[in-house]
């Protein structure tokens, strides 16, 4: 059983592509070999800045001989059909066999394929993989036509077994496979030959190349942590940077340097971002004061001066970078201390979205909505408006222009400098949260108000201009915005009706969008509706109030009003459905089924997401109990019989079930069980204790089962029948009080 070793040696491969390329190499080569009939015991793939490597152990020495029989057309078939068959099977006429069949003689092709040696198969598969390799970006070089991520210099391809190792002979665009490679570019130049994978890895290490990326990363992490620890400091861990740096070096040498005292006054986020983005440095922090005091850089070589020259050079570059950062910071502080007015003015000429206006326009809308939400989340409306107005000021700062990822972080610093209280300043950073599924959600009331207002404004804006996410396309991250709202609401079980906020903000967008097209009188009317929405909380009522008032004055609601009257409720309903979809996705991770959420959504109000989820969670927990199945079945049975009877009789059986018409004990017991349960369920529902309510419903399981066991609902006596149908309605009503159980599947 031979082993295969393959190395593709090139000029420097971008760090971000290495891991994926190693995985692709393994997949493509092994797929090709397996398809050609070879098998192998194990495979490994590796990447360094200059090489992709694959090792396969226990490869079969040759592919098996195969024999395939193919049935062809009848011997008297038209010539064309026979020719086609020959072409398809790849055989000649004289190789066909004639065999009798039910309806006459039929041609058969027997195709025998002899087994082939592994080397021959590899020599076909590997060049094919190289020529079609799925690099995210590839290039040509020199006068050739081969594409690779950067110029490919050599190919090492060996098959080895107990008897020794042999080059697999092939050639790709003039590069012949061989048994040699190169070590470290500077520390061990020159080519050397290898025999097996073990020999290859050992010789590479002697030639100052660590083959495995995780070994390089671990080496960097270990040395950096030790170095920091020895100085009473700690490394700020950064897995993404670690992986990238491990892809930039073949022989990592960790060096730690100091950040000039001049730059200690910069916020730690600025130091960290500047060092990571520009220089790929790790930050080292003093645990006593939380300040970043040193940096760690990773060189690709050892030197006789133990890195002194390299470190001095890096320190100098860092100083130049941080001088820039300090320059931005100081310029920004001047604007911030003056109240940030320069930035806020300038945001009027920064486009948010072509149709939705400038960032300043967005800020004004968000501020208005934040006032309204503030009241619902226990924040002061004036403070919420102020916070919303300054939360995005830093978008025009020099620091955020240079480092966009610091938006919000800088805003917080600058708002403090502008004299705002800490809770207002915090909004600048927290109103963007949550940024991803694992990011924290804001909990401070002011931050919650502005975060919700900002996200609702974004969603309603894109709904208003019909730019909803489709399939995998979501360029404005609207799904993330909706999920953010859901998470903020659920995190602290915040009770609020989203509808009124959605309606108000849709209206604000509609006003801005219609402004250039309609007269001032129309805009005035729209604004009147907007203030009514703020007051009444429902668009329909507000719209009606205003149109009634117009009619009283003898005016006809304008065309534009009619448009808004139709559009806003439609968009609002559609957007709420989008929220419900996101909610289902979010709760699926919690293990709550989508039909459970549908059942919870059958009870209004459906725009109070915390309430919807409380119902869904209670129902989901209940469904896991032993009583659940029978109760749901009893409910279904009751609902079905009731539904059929109502259909047939053309009447609704809703009221008046009376124990005095009960004929059996089971009926009477059900009456009293229902009364008892209702007595407990109604207050539980009032207290929104859905779990409590459901546990009381569970008590009904036995009496309902017993009732259906003993009682014929459709009795001959009409009075008894009606009474029993009304009783069924009580079952449905009581058991469906938390959620419509008929929406459950199965």
């Amino acid at each position: 059983m031979p082993d295969l070793l393959l190395e593709l040696f090139s000029e420097e491969i971008p760090a971000r592509m290495q891991a994926r390329a190693a995985a692709d190499l393994k997949r493509l080569v092994t797929d090709g070999l397996v398809e050609a009939g070879l098998t192998y015991a194990s495979a490994g793939a590796f990447a360094t800045p200059r090489r992709l490597v694959l090792t396969l152990e226990g490869l079969t020495g040759e592919s098996p001989t195969t024999r395939e029989e193919r049935r062809g057309p009848r011997t008297d078939a038209p010539e064309k059909a026979i020719e086609g068959f020959l072409r398809g099977a790849g055989v000649r006429m004289d190789q066909l066999e004639v065999r009798p069949d039910k309806k006459g003689d039929v041609y058969f092709a027997v195709i025998e394929r002899a087994g082939r040696p592994a080397a021959e198969i590899i020599a076909e598969v590997v060049p094919q993989v190289i020529r079609t390799f799925p690099w995210p970006k590839s290039m040509r070089w020199g006068a050739g036509s081969l594409r690779w991520v950067r110029p490919l210099h050599s190919i090492l391809c060996l098959l080895s077994d107990e008897a020794g190792s042999q080059v697999v002979p092939f050639d790709v665009d003039g590069i012949a496979a061989g048994d040699t490679t190169e070590g470290h570019r500077f520390m061990a130049p020159g080519r050397f030959s290898v025999t097996t994978f073990a020999d290859y890895e050992a010789k590479l290490k002697r030639a100052k190349v660590i083959l495995r990326a995780e070994e390089r990363a671990e080496h960097i992490r270990h040395d950096a942590e030790q170095m920091a620890f020895a100085n009473g400091l700690e490394l700020v861990s950064d897995a993404g940077l670690l992986a990238e740096v491990a892809g930039l070096v073949e022989w990592p040498v960790v060096l730690m340097g100091e950040i000039g005292a001049d730059f200690m006054g910069l916020p730690p986020e600025v130091l960290q971002t500047s060092m990571r983005e520009h220089q790929k440095f790790f930050s080292v922090k003093n645990p006593k004061n939380g300040r970043i005091e040193r940096f760690v850089t990773v060189a690709n070589r050892e030197t006789t001066d133990h890195g002194a020259t390299i470190l001095a050079g890096n320190q100098k570059v860092l100083s130049a970078r941080l001088s820039d950062a300090k320059f931005f910071w100081e310029n920004d502080l001047r604007v911030a201390k003056a109240g940030m007015a320069d930035w806020l003015d300038a945001l009027a000429s920064v486009t948010f979205e072509r149709r939705l206006g400038s960032v300043a326009d967005k800020i004004a809308r968000v501020a208005a909505l934040a006032r309204e939400i503030a009241l619902m989340v226990g924040a002061d409306p004036d403070q919420a408006e102020t916070a919303a107005r300054i939360a995005k000021a830093d978008l025009h700062s020099e620091m955020v222009y240079e480092f966009p990822e610091l938006q919000g972080v800088m805003g917080r610093y600058y708002a403090l400098q502008a004299g705002h209280p800490p809770e207002v300043a915090a909004v600048a950073e927290e109103h963007y949260q949550p940024l991803g599924p694992s990011d924290a959600v804001p909990t401070a009331p002011l931050s919650v108000a502005v975060a919700l207002a900002d996200k609702i404004d974004t969603l309603t804006g894109f709904w208003a201009i019909d730019e909803k996410p489709t399939g995998s396309k979501d360029p404005y991250a609207l799904r993330r915005a909706a999920l953010g709202i859901i998470r903020i609401v659920l995190a602290e079980h915040r009770r609020m009706r989203l509808d009124r906020f959605i309606d108000a903000q849709l209206l604000r967008h509609k006003i801005e969008l219609s402004r250039p097209k309609v007269g001032d009188d129309v805009i005035d009317t729209l604004e009147e509706i907007l203030s009514e929405v703020a007051e009444r909380g429902v668009f329909g009522a507000a719209f009606k109030a205003v149109t009634d008032r117009l009619k009283e004055r003898g005016e006809d609601p304008a065309e534009a009003l009619r448009t808004v009257g139709d559009l806003v409720p439609d968009l609002s309903t559609d957007l709420l459905a989008f929220f419900h979809d996101r909610l289902k996705v979010h709760l699926r991770d919690e293990g709550i089924r989508h039909d459970v959420i549908d059942a919870a959504l059958s009870k209004p109000p459906v725009d109070d997401l915390a309430l919807v989820v409380a119902r869904a969670r209670a129902l989901s927990a209940f469904l896991a109990t032993p009583e659940a199945e029978n109760l749901v079945q009893g409910y279904r049975r009751a609902a079905n019989i009731l539904h059929q009877a109502e259909e047939k009789d053309g009447v609704e059986y809703r009221f008046g079930a009376d124990p005095k018409f009960a004929e059996t004990d089971e009926e009477r017991r059900l009456f009293s069980a229902l009364s008892e349960a209702e007595a407990a369920i109604i207050p539980a529902l009032g207290a929104e204790d859905f779990a409590g309510a459901m546990s009381r419903m569970a008590d009904l399981r036995a009496p309902i089962d017993a009732f259906f066991e003993a009682v014929q609902v459709n009795a001959e006596n009409a009075v008894v029948r009606r009474n029993r149908l009304n009783l069924l309605h009580r079952i449905v009503e009581t058991c469906g009080a938390v959620a419509d159980l008929s929406r459950l599947e199965g």
Partner: protein, 311 residues
């Protein structure tokens, strides 16, 4: 290992003699205002077509928005690039490049040289390539690019391009912190001159000019003129009516493209081009660059022959 050079000009002279020894034609700067060494026709146009080429040269470059009145230690509106272009790119181009660093006194045994992914793109030239920025002890000292496309044409064969930012590289080699303090000639010369002696005043003058004084109406007009002239020259028939020879005016037209590009940079520095207009202007310069590239491949230097006209 060569010793450390003493001055800015010594570094330039060493690069010149190094690349001459490696077979490059040492060319002179192009006599027009350009934003980077790539604009020199010895790079832009010569990277097109099938004819082999090897050239190296210094190119004075202007970036009006980078003017800092001579006060910033690292930023200049006028600076020098050293440019090498070899077509087809030789297999040992990385080694040749590293040799040039040794030639200017960078000791490979003490420094950390790294090739860090950096894909180059010039929206105004309609050009892109793959390569790296080269780091020396964490500082970017060169751009290394394999041209894939120029003026909308696929490069076949591919050129290897090296660009050194000379001031930055020289400051690194000479250990200077402020560009204006860098010795321009040998400090022991009878009349020693610093970079500041040579360029401080012009940095001031051009900063004022670029940011505040250049007449924008006129610049807009000149842009239109250059654009029209470039297009007109290329619309002329290939056959010259006077000599009866086939003379495609690719280079004169390309001069107008260079002019338009620089005029756009000046307008940008004057702050009179909005974000949306910016893209449109860049697109107009790119359209000219494409026309010039189309014309160049219809010339002898671009690989055209009467028997087998270039595609």
């Amino acid at each position: 290992m060569p010793d450390t050079p003493k001055s800015f000009q010594e570094i330039i002279l060493r690069l010149q003699s190094y690349w001459a020894s490696k077979g490059c034609a040492i060319m002179q700067p192009y006599d027009m205002e350009v934003g980077a060494g790539t604009f020199h026709p010895a790079t832009t146009l010569r990277s097109l077509g099938s004819k082999p080429w090897a050239a190296a040269y210094v190119q004075p470059s202007r970036r009006p928005t980078d003017g800092r009145y001579g006060e910033n230690p690292n930023r200049l509106q006028h600076y020098y690039q050293y440019q090498v272009l070899i077509k087809p790119s030789p297999p040992d181009l990385q080694a040749l490049y590293l040799g040039s660093l040794e030639a200017i006194g960078i000791d490979m045994a003490l420094h950390d040289i790294r090739f860090v992914e950096d894909d180059w793109e010039s929206p105004t030239l309609g050009a892109w390539g793959l390569g790296w920025e080269v780091w020396c002890d964490g500082m970017e000292v060169s751009q290394f690019t394999y041209f894939q496309q120029v003026g909308g044409h696929d490069c076949h064969p591919v050129s290897g391009e090296l660009t050194y930012g000379l001031e930055r590289l020289a400051m690194f080699v000479l250990g200077i912190d402020h560009v204006m303090e860098m010795p321009f000639n040998d400090p022991s010369a009878p009349i020693p001159l610093t970079y500041g002696d040579v360029f401080r005043q012009t940095e001031e003058e051009y900063s004022r000019h670029n940011f505040d004084a250049a007449t924008t109406d006129q610049l807009f007009r000149h842009f239109e003129d250059a654009e029209a002239e470039c297009q007109r020259l290329l619309e002329e028939p290939a056959e010259d009516p006077k000599t009866g020879k086939r003379i495609v005016m690719a280079h004169p037209a390309y001069d107008q493209c260079i002019k338009a590009s620089h005029l756009f940079n000046l307008l940008d520095a004057r702050g009179v081009i909005s974000v949306t207009e910016r893209q449109a202007y860049i697109g107009r310069v790119r359209a000219l660059a494409k026309l010039c590239a189309d014309a160049f491949v219809q010339t002898g230097a671009g690989g055209w022959t009467a028997e087998a006209p270039a595609a």
